[in-house]
């Protein structure tokens, strides 16, 4: 299951939804809004999506996770709109019979989501300036290594 939402992500309900008697392991990943990106202070973020394509890519990630690992259930949810520091922007929950599979499947899902799903964030600083984050994957364009992960 997957969805985009403008409401706060209820990760406890999501985690309950992936639990199963066949699965001895559940791994949940939460991405949350950090107060600092490198030296830059963030007061809030805005997330925008190309929604129909984002949903298609989320469906593809879910299918690939199920193809690669013996998943009981997998849930991917991304928040859109304005988020304050500390709020949950993304949640990925996976259940598997064993823990190594659950960790690997969850990490693959969030890594792939961050590479492929057309969602963008705008970081808003205390002085009111905002900037869309479009870091480059190539080394020849300036980008902060601190921005590479969530």
């Amino acid at each position: 299951m997957f969805h985009l939402t403008r409401e706060a992500i209820d990760y406890a309900t999501l985690t309950e939804a992936v639990r199963s008697p066949r699965c001895g392991a559940v791994v949940l990943f939460l991405g949350t809004v950090r107060d600092l990106t490198g030296e830059q202070v963030t007061v809030f973020l805005d997330y925008e999506a190309y929604a129909p394509m984002a949903e298609k890519k989320l469906a593809e990630i879910e299918a690939e996770v199920r193809r690669r690992w013996p998943v009981g259930e997998v849930a991917l949810v991304h928040r859109l709109g304005r988020l304050a520091v500390g709020e949950v922007s993304v949640a990925v929950a996976v259940s598997c019979p064993h823990r190594r599979e659950a960790f690997a499947a969850c990490q693959f899902a969030i890594d792939t989501l961050k590479q492929l799903v057309p969602i963008w964030k705008r970081e808003n600083a205390p002085d009111g300036r905002g900037e869309w984050v479009h870091q480059s994957v190539s080394a020849d364009v300036a980008c902060s290594p601190a921005q590479e992960q969530p």
Binding site: P52, K57, S89, K114, P118, K121, H134
Partner: protein, 81 residues
Amino acid sequence: MVIRVKLFAAMSELAGSDCVEIELPDGASVAELRRQLAGQWPLIRSLLSRSAIAINHDFADHERILQSTDEVAVIPPVSGG
């Protein structure tokens, strides 16, 4: 044919719109679309060079031929998560 191209995030800010229309010859490729976009909206050139093109919600390579009914979008480097 006229192709409507969806723009997002900084790409939309640079172009001043979340959608632009562009006139292309029938049988034009994604590469031709990129050249026309860069020519008509110089401000988006730099970010466009780092962006992908999506057709009908999938990433499309340079050689892909456009149809007038395609849903076309510029996908700047994503930053979800």
